[in-house]
Chain length 306, copies 2
């Protein structure tokens, strides 16, 4: 797997420079590399953006691919990869916002990496959960704009507007109050869903997280699967070079039969102990409306809310 374009990490140390701000407007392209979106969701998100920024609403373009359907996916692999590349390689977009999780980002990651061109290096890529396969791959390939954070589909959660507004505050204003508290210009960070990260290990998509604080969250997994994922993650020699692990929220855990006998924090502490990785406490991320922003790598300069 060879990227046609490898971002020069020295070029953009300030995310503000990634934003073109033509007519004072930030331009955001939404694509769906995994599951599809309903068109009404796009309307809701644009409406929220107008309410949140009445004087300078961001220009949010939902790529038509978001609404395609092909079995499990929002269009077949070719359509999803093409839409991602169309937005990523278009210099008129400041950010590529992943519309929704589900499953499918990993399927197109190699194809996407091979098709990225120069404008892709000047963009912020925002998403989480399944999107971690693409965010991790982007970071692995030297792109410094991969960011864990809320997605348009979060608007369907109860009070989900809070999460989507947080993402917009980050994308439009670079508001520092959107960030997970660990994040700082002096700390390298990364955030992943456990199951998604586990399935990147030992593949060319696995990013080098040496010296990073690795935040992990999960949803809808039995406790034995959380344990198995942590066994897998902490057994990986490269992962053992992280600065430490912080545990995000593990939600909607189905009942274990018999009871697993340990909480998710006990499980993570156990595997950190076995592997010699530092356990650094809880992270403010998860599949919920409180999910905070975590950049892959160091925080670049951001502006406070104006």
């Amino acid at each position: 797997m060879t990227a046609r374009y490898k971002a020069d990490t020295a070029v953009t140390s300030d995310w503000k420079t990634k934003r073109i701000m033509r007519d004072g407007k930030v331009r955001i392209g939404v694509v769906a590399p995994a599951s599809r979106l309903e068109p009404v969701l796009a309307d809701k998100v644009r409406q929220l953006a107008r309410a949140h920024y009445p004087d300078r609403p961001p220009d949010i373009q939902f790529h038509p691919q978001c609404f395609l359907s092909s079995g499990h996916f929002a269009g077949d692999d070719e359509a999803r990869a093409a839409a991602f590349l169309e937005v990523a390689n278009d210099a008129s977009f400041d950010a590529l916002w992943i519309g929704r999780g589900g499953y499918g980002s990993g399927r197109i990651a190699e194809r996407v990496m091979a098709g990225l061109t120069e404008p892709a290096g000047k963009k912020i890529y925002l998403g989480y959960s399944d999107a971690g396969a693409l965010l991790g791959a982007l970071y692995k390939h030297g792109f410094d704009g991969a960011v864990h954070g809320p997605m348009p589909a979060d608007i369907n959660r109860e009070s989900g507007e809070v999460a989507v507004a947080r993402a917009l505050s980050f994308l439009v204003d670079g508001a520092t109050d959107t960030l997970e508290p660990t994040v700082s210009p002096s700390t390298k960070t990364a955030a992943f869903n456990m199951a998604v990260f586990s399935q990147l290990l030992g593949t060319p998509l696995q990013p080098d997280l040496t010296g990073h604080i690795l935040m992990l969250e999960d949803v809808s997994e039995h406790m034995y699967r959380i344990d198995r994922a942590m066994f897998h993650i902490t057994s990986n020699p490269a992962v053992r070079k992280v600065a430490g692990i912080k545990l995000g929220r593990c939600s909607e855990i189905p009942p274990n039969d018999p009871d697993f006998g340990q909480s998710e924090e006990e499980v993570v502490r156990h595997w950190c102990g076995v592997s010699g990785i530092r356990y650094l406490g809880r992270a403010d991320i998860g599949h919920d409306i409180d999910n905070k922003i975590v950049p892959f790598g160091r925080l670049r300069t951001l502006h406070n809310n104006p």
Copy 2:
């Protein structure tokens, strides 16, 4: 991770030599590195063995650890590892039979590998599903007796006696009619549950399967998870060196919402195509009573049914 004892692969080319056959009896030790067994199951298995071999019933010893309970597991990690080592390192046992799957073998694999001594190299290790974490680790560490096949707990399936009797025929007689049809002295093979194998990738437990026919089966996984596991497995550079993949049965697949749009065979064909791995058709393995025997590595000399 360093094994105290590394099997000399030149020592035992004939499984028959692994069996001591004192008084004409094969001696089998059962341990439970994952979920616990009910004592009544042990009775049923011994009864079946007596019926199957009235003149020379194998001596089947269920280690008391099989019946321990610690949350999800048949005793804590220390108890399960200790029982495994006790049987593995005891020269009076010809075979170590893993009692049941579930989850837990991977948790103790590093500890077990570090504690194996010389008699462990002269033994057959039989199991499947979660047990694959230990079988794969044994094979990785140079032990030539790891074998995929039915376990005592299979007796609880409808007509499960067929599966357990097959395992006994293999352990006692080395009967060739118990073998998956691909297995031969000239072919290197390995068999894994997809989810279990996936969670060994990129860890020190991942065995080198260069030139092997890799058989994969799964149970109770959504089709998108089968797809994700195959994405993971076929993206691993070392796995791409296998001679080919054969697909066992994928059973009890929960409904995918929306419908995934591809069968498990289409999924495996897809990922073999993407990765350049040969797809070699179906394998006669799975979570069912027809599950056949597959040695890790080449078939050593076996005797037909007497």
